[in-house]
Amino acid sequence: MVDDVKQDGVGRVGAVFDKRATPRLDELESGPWPSFVTGLKRLRDSGDKPYAEYVNDLLGQLEHSYTERLGFWKGGTVSVFGYGGGIIPRFSEVSEKFPKSKEFHTLRVMPPAGFHYTSDVLRKMCDIWERHGSGLIAFHGQSGDIMFQGTTTDGCQKAFDELNEIGFDLGGAGPALRTSMSCVGHARCEMSMYDEPRAHREILNENVSEIHRPALPYKFKFKFSGCANDCVNAIHRADFAVIGTWRDDIKINQDEVKAYVADVGRKYTIDHVVAMCPTRAVSLNDDNTLEIDNKSCVRCMHCINVMHKALAPGDDRGVSVLIGGKRSLKVGDLMGTMVVPFMKLETDEDYAKLREFARSCIDFFAENALEHERIGETLDRIGLPAFLGALGIEPDPNMVRHPRTSSYVRTDDFTDEAEKYFERKGLNADGSAKEAAE
């Protein structure tokens, strides 16, 4: 607690104080982009608000950082009743100099899937944070949380209680299931191949306890993108990435194709659509219609993005799941690896299956990962075959860029494995097609 008299939120209403000099920060007030410094000063200058003096010291500490070129926060342990995570505690290392802002904790609050708000609910959040925090909110953190930044330990609890009452809940921090993101998708985007908010909410909310009580070996993130454009950066930035895709043919409206070619020209079309298809699946006919070899198409979205009036994804839709994306700690950056090339995602049963699979991955992670190991590292450590085996997934060529190039493997059960494959595919043991029965 910053002070002991007339305390409200993070400080005293109507406190009288000297404004900290912030010559360096002041330079960040000019220029056309909205300035966070101007914003902080507005808070500092709100004499009628409890956080004015608090933000004054915060500005002081930040100016100190700009001068010394060093950070001055340290961590600690703060949480709200009933939960073990969701707060990022910050204690000042220079609180003798800037005593008011000596605690500057952040609440990570999960946003509505797809980041939709009304002005009304935003105003409610502002009101709560004026009462119990610094008045500084970020929409959003890189993991998708609304970050209510800057309050005391006590403020954390109060702010949370009120936010929780209006329907919001804390997000993840520490070795836990983390807050997730889904793209705007179904709400507005014609590329959207499944109901992202539904998948997002069903999975996260079924496992909400894993968010609130950090008990995993390390963090675990889900992200949901409606198509391979991956507008929430899921493949690299999630342990479990769900990406919309389709199995049938791209839909072509040849009249729109001709209109496009007429508009931009043949050479432009060839150089920007034909030659840019990663698998040379697109060919421009001499009559300005387009031909697509759908079996070669990798659903990269490029041609659809470019000619989106003429082309559209097919109707047999679902998702791919990639496991193990993360940033670089210890092993270097990892991209997610394709482990479920296709899963239909339409019916309730489909969604239930996805939830089940998500749960089995969390369980696998909880049981098999070493401490401070992300699931991508576990996968690398034990190898993809063992990983698939543990999760009961059958190998599929879509999981690889190409099959093994190394002969260093024991293959004495190859024939058995091949037979299993043929059985799964409904083929005879030698790979030939079964005669039509009865």
Binding site: S65, M110, N233, C277, L329
Partner: protein, 370 residues
């Protein structure tokens, strides 16, 4: 492994009224969503961009929704947020959303409202843009404002760069969308970017031996080092740690679990710029960004040296790339030799990868460019 909501509450500093949380999880977005979006949910046909910063999405039903996108500082004070709400109420339909990159989007089903929205946003100082082939808002992290391990600030870097990039935000003049990221330490919460501006430590940590014993779990710290450069050691009779400076790659991974291993210093904490990261699967697979230049000074409040290099790279891309090529794809086509030529940057031994899998970054072919 998971526990019931009430079984194991952590010790609480405020004992009197213990409110049991409602574990409501992720809120349902439909309660806040624009009604036209709810009505046409999952039934969209195509979109257009009538002008930079404005999207027109047409549903299969024929309904339309207009989006006006504007930049924000992400780290917003309540006054700023309320101003944005005022605009939503007065010029819009009261419904907004934020994008992956912290831009605000105003949703309206009425095209007539678009000009007024743009006007109000511009007047209030929020640039309208960030759509299509523009430079959108930079991925923003925490830095000196809040993080416990930062090498630099995030908000200041983002503000400085976005001031410079303002014109590119409000236009759609780039070959494809440009995604810039920043990160205020080598952990890099900002992720991959067409251009990434990341802290790069240049010296091994200096150890404050007096504190190690109290603050750090030594085996845990030893385990964190990616190159096994840390050994437990007795220093001045106290259990501490020592670093093999020949092995140390100055990654800073030991610092979060053990703050006495001071990786930051005003002199040795530098910035590096990386290029060609990509998350989308359009055309090429997602790729990591690659080193362009290191050792730039960490120079608040406006990091002019960084600005200069970002400008060079961005405008070389703008001048040279074909439509739809992302930064990395442009470079892939013209080649790294030409990238360094056209940006006036140096290629050094540090550009040669030495990490696990380095071989895969090498040119194992006769493909060469002159």
């Amino acid at each position: 492994m998971s526990q019931g909501a009430t079984t194991q509450a952590p010790p609480q500093p405020s004992p009197p009224k213990k409110r049991v949380p409602i574990e409501s999880g992720v809120p349902d977005p439909k309660q806040y969503m624009h009604p036209v979006m709810v009505k046409n949910y999952g039934q969209w046909a195509y979109h257009e961009r009538p002008r930079p910063g404005v999207l027109r999405h047409v549903a299969k039903s024929g309904d339309e929704i207009y989006t006006v996108r504007a930049g924000t500082q992400r780290q917003m004070d309540v006054y700023t947020i309320r101003k944005l709400c005022d605009i939503a109420d007065q010029q819009g339909d009261g419904h907004v959303r934020f994008t992956t990159r912290s831009n605000i989007e105003y949703l309206t089903s009425n095209f007539e409202k678009v000009p007024a929205l743009i006007k109000a946003l511009n007047e209030a100082g929020f640039p309208v843009g960030g759509t299509g082939n523009s430079v959108s808002m930079i991925s923003h992290t925490q830095g000196w404002l809040h993080c416990d391990i930062p090498g630099t600030d995030a908000s200041g870097v983002v503000k400085s760069l976005m001031d410079m990039l303002h014109t590119e935000f409000i236009q759609e003049d780039m070959p494809n969308r440009v995604r810039i990221t920043t990160s205020c330490c080598q952990i890099n919460c900002g992720g991959q970017g067409d251009i990434a501006i990341n802290v790069q430590y240049t010296k091994p940590p200096k150890i404050n031996h007096d504190l190690v014993a109290n603050v750090c779990e030594r085996p845990a710290v030893v385990a964190r080092c990616p190159v096994a450069a840390i050994r437990p050691a007795m220093v001045n009779g106290k259990p501490s740690l020592e670093v093999d400076e020949k092995k140390c790659v100055c990654c800073g991974a030991c610092y979060p679990p053990c703050p006495p291993m001071q990786i930051n210093s005003a002199e040795s904490t530098k910035l590096a710029i990386w290029v060609g990261g990509k998350h989308s699967n359009a055309r090429s697979r997602p790729t990591f960004h690659k080193l362009a230049v290191a050792n730039l000074p960490n120079n608040p409040p406006r990091w002019p040296e960084v600005e200069e290099i970002v400008r060079k790279i961005l405008f070389a891309y703008k001048a040279g790339a074909k439509d739809w090529e992302r930064m990395g794809e442009w470079i892939e086509r013209i080649g790294w030799p030409r990238f360094f030529e056209e940006t006036g940057l140096a290629f050094t031994k540090h550009h040669l990868d030495t990490w696990t899998g380095a071989r895969h970054t090498m040119n194992m072919s006769a493909h060469v460019r002159f």
